[in-house]
């Protein structure tokens, strides 16, 4: 196996995903298969090849540093699962 259950759990933690034991088992198998397939890329020598992040070169566009915030706070907050006054409400962070 290319990835152990513990390694899958570690990635899940990084990804902020709670997995069931069944999902963990499936992902161990999935990683095994997919990473084997990805090995194909190692056939290709790529020393000195520049990586491509975007296919179409666009210089980083600059604009004036002006506030363009959405004016309708109410509409933005409406989609939040929990809110209070003008804030998003989350579980307690500091004891």
């Amino acid at each position: 196996m290319r990835m152990s259950r513990e390694a899958v759990q570690q990635v899940a933690l990084l990804a902020r995903l709670e997995l069931t034991p069944t999902e963990e088992t499936e992902l161990v198998a999935h990683f095994d298969k997919v990473l084997t397939y990805m090995e194909k890329l190692n056939e290709l020598p790529t020393d000195g090849v520049e990586p491509t992040a975007h296919a179409v070169e666009v210089p980083a566009p600059l604009r004036a540093d002006q506030v363009t915030n959405h004016a309708d706070t109410e509409a933005l907050l409406q989609n939040a699962p929990a809110q209070e006054a003008d804030f998003f409400k989350v579980p307690k962070i500091i004891d």
Binding site: M3, L17, F31, V34, L44, P51, A55, V56, V58, N79
Partner: protein
Amino acid sequence: MTPSRLTIHEATALLRTRALSAQELTRAVLDRIHATDARTRSYLTVCEPEALAQAETADRRLAAGDSIPPLCGIPLAVKDVILTKGIRSTAGSKILEHFVPPYDATVTRLLKAAGAVIIGKVNCDEFAMGSSNENSAFFPSRNPWDLSRVPGGSSGGSATAVAADQALAALGTDTGGSIRLPAAFCGVVGLKPTYGRVSRFGVVAYASSLDQVGPLAKDVLDCALVLQAIAGHDPRDSTSVDRPVPNYQATLTQGVQGLKVGIPQEYFVEGMQPEVETAVHQALAALAALGAQPVSISLPHTEYAIATYYLIATAEASSNLARYDGVKYGYRTAQTGNLMDMYCRTRAHGFGSEVKRRIMLGTYALSAGYYDAYYLKAQKVRTLIRQDFLTAFEACDVIATPVAPTVAFRLGEKTADPLTMYLSDIFTIAVNLAGLPGLSVPCGCDAKGLPIGLQLIGKPFGEDTLLQAAYAYEQATPWHTRKPPL
């Protein structure tokens, strides 16, 4: 005349002579949805009152007669990853099931400015991740040509709506083939524009360096008309390119005389459905008969495209989907616990299994110790794939290939093995990696009558040439006149 069967250009002619009103047209399309969508399941949300109000406005403008916008009164469907102000936009995910955007995507705003009627929001694979529409968190859409088969994905609902006359055209998005594959499977025309041609502002992000919005339409002229409405620079999308938009309709009828059509040997592989191969070869012969010049080319890194794509796309997805944390919008688990539990459970319950698989792979590919071996390696191979196309285009003007190795497959046929599903995109995925425009045009059917698509790939910003070639082919063949037996 059945108004729902009209193309955009046919309907526009009737609307402008007042032989048909926008309200009659919108009602006809709504009636068609009500009569058929229990079978096709194209729509996640039908915007009946809003659409009728927009149609009424269109009728007033048509009656006034001056400065009528180009898509005035035309009922269009919008893929549910594209935000529509005040209309639920789910991206096919439970995590956004009740999300009502406070603003329009730029493409939505442009369609409205062009006078279009937004008839509803169409189904897709969750976060546009899938090739069959079976990853929608709500239900799979079904192929109007055979309801036991998939429409292709991820813009499956866009394709079924257009094929079934439940919209005159639709917007989709294409990250690895998500417009072209469903267009081919459902027998409609689909175009993925050059990366940067159309704004992504307000489009739920999957893989930002690959995603692009484009039209699915009943014919090539309609495809050009919708592209015209949405193409152009948008300061709100920093990857959008500031470059003039040609008049696509003006050059549509220029034909293919002398056009060099590159045929890559790597795209005619073992295991292809023989009827697909035959149909594509016949299409190439038809193009040659119209004056095009076939040129044999090679795209040697084709076999690495899927591995490259699934590393880059999942890495970008893992980053983009980090925003769904149960805080600002969308679903939050009831079992909150502490903040970390809340994040992990919200995402566990809100995302479907394919989305989780991709987030996991992408997180792994970007994680310390693996970044160089996977993500950086894939970005380097992406360069080689892109160079293949640039070299090929020194010898040809467009490239012609099949869209997919088979016709539409059955629901459930590929769900057990994600890797098999990924291989459905084998002919479309490299085009996204290279940022090129790609078009799917119907080019035949198999013995069961299931549609087959021809893919035309263009140079960067060569949408005009693609549309010209597709139009010449379409007008010389009968395929665009076929309708599913729904």
